[in-house]
């Protein structure tokens, strides 16, 4: 007995596949529907450039949050990108294969640790260290950058490794045969050939860093101000939404959705950049 025929299975699978895309569309539509009226009402420029965020007084300026998100993401890049790329180079070019086969999955396990655990370690270990040795409140741009830098490592490392391994062996052999040293081969041939993949890994890591919420709420301190040093506390765009959404009503609530629209736009730009970078690599092959 067949309850559903061949065609039925196909239709069900199609519906399942479409539901993923429709979820994305629905989310985008919902955020835009809730947030866009506010942006028109308040003025995009006012919203983005004012640094007064006092919802109770009807002042909604997200400039400090935009600045904070950019600073924290930049900091995460400074910490995570060199570490990640260097780690990927070591694992793919220097480490013996069996070692890589053990270490790579372990690094990918980092991605499985819930962000609240990263935040917890940041609050209990990192923030007190920063407070005691460098000053300030501890919960700061620096703490958030270090935590996020570690959180993006799995993304950066695994995509970088994949693109470095995809460089044809003949490139390396050619370079070595021409008399280049191993290091010269790596930085003049291998990295150049894998450039677009490495770039894509960094951009995807950046997307992860800018969208991270829980860990940032816990370690960044959430003060609404433009930071003058890495030791000051800041509030990111994501933290702003998550902190106030449960209480917000009326215009305040719309302003938070509008914050979501801005965040959405930033992340779409980053992801498109990553796609362009990856496509650039495919075109050259």
């Amino acid at each position: 007995m067949t309850l559903i025929g061949e065609k039925g299975v196909r239709r069900i699978l199609l519906a399942t596949a479409l539901s993923a895309i429709s979820a994305l569309l629905l989310i985008a539509l919902f955020i835009i529907k809730e947030g866009l009226p506010f942006i028109f009402h308040y003025g995009l420029w006012n919203f983005l450039s004012s640094s007064d965020w006092e919802p109770q007084a009807g002042k909604f300026g997200i400039f400090p949050m935009v600045a904070a998100s950019l600073w924290v993401t930049f900091g995460a890049m400074v910490v995570g990108a060199p570490l990640g790329v260097a780690g990927a180079l070591f694992l793919s070019e220097f480490a013996p294969r069996p070692v890589m086969r053990v270490i790579k999955p372990m690094i990918e396990l980092l991605a499985a640790i819930p962000s609240v655990v990263y935040g917890f370690i940041g609050v209990m270990v990192l923030a007190p260290l920063i407070r005691d040795y460098l000053g300030g409140p501890g919960l700061s741009v620096l703490a958030a950058s270090i935590i996020l830098g570690i959180m993006i490592l799995p993304t950066v490392i695994s995509i970088s490794i994949d693109s470095i391994m995809a460089v044809p062996q003949s490139y390396r052999e050619g370079s070595l045969a021409l008399g280049a040293t191993v290091w010269q081969t790596i930085h003049m041939v291998t990295i150049r050939a894998a450039r677009s993949g490495i770039l894509a890994s960094i951009i995807l890591g950046m997307g992860r860093a800018i969208g991270e919420t829980m860990a940032v709420i816990m370690v960044a301190g959430n003060a609404v101000k433009i930071p003058h040093s890495a030791l000051e506390s800041v509030r990111s765009l994501t933290a702003n939404i998550a902190l106030e959404m449960s209480y917000a009503t009326g215009l305040h609530r719309q302003a938070l959705f509008a914050t979501g629209v801005i965040l959405f736009v930033v992340i779409i730009i980053l992801n498109s950049a990553a796609m362009v970078a990856i496509r650039g690599k495919a075109a050259r092959k």
Binding site: M218, N222, K225, R235, L243, S246
Partner: protein
Amino acid sequence: MQHKYAALLCIPLILLLGCGRGKTVVTLAGSTAFQPFAEKLAEQYMSEHPNASITVQGGGSAVGIQSAISGAAQIGMADLVILPDEARALTPTVVARDGIAVVVNPSNAVSGLTTDQVRDIFNGKVRNWKDLGGADRPITVVSREAGSGTRSSFEQIVTGISLTRDALIQDSNGTIRETVANDANAVGYLSHGLLNAKIKALTVDGEACSNETIASGSYRLVRPIYLLVNGPLQGEIKAFIEYVLSDNGQQTIKANGLMPAR
């Protein structure tokens, strides 16, 4: 065969229809400070009235007011000193009182502040503990997010606060406690029921934050906890609020760290 599947499909439907039958459902929503108490009270009430079904949701005081107005919840919970204008249509009942303690790290030498000093600290006018009789260390101000019932109560009682931009913002009473417990320079405020040995409560205008001073009214930072109902009290809603105000209900509130209303 097909009939068998059809029969299977019916089972969840029957189960769905079956539950809730014969029970009156009352939903409470709002203040996270009162939520654990409401849950305990609902549990006790349901064990005495097996036909009643009471669910408790959080969301914060603003959500409590909104859902009582919209009908999403029959009873809204709010812990505000001054109820906002939109709550005027609701019937308020004060069921408990909660003190707000100003807290510092136990290593801090300062043991008491005046209301004016509290205001100056949270406005960012006083920035070093030495100006308040403590060590020469910068003050780290810790506050709650905009819209928090504890924060608006605190600001309404102290008056004249426009929070310093340098203030760290934490999103619950619990994280305020952790931040202050970990940072020797920090000062924050939280619900009296959540005080423990890891933090030190300061006296305000010479009055310690304790059950006695809150009950007698000599401690200034006290807020009422309201249950808000849209329209007159009747039926199961009335019975539950009466239970909360009964000796049993008030005893439960007191035993878990809040001050009873009566």
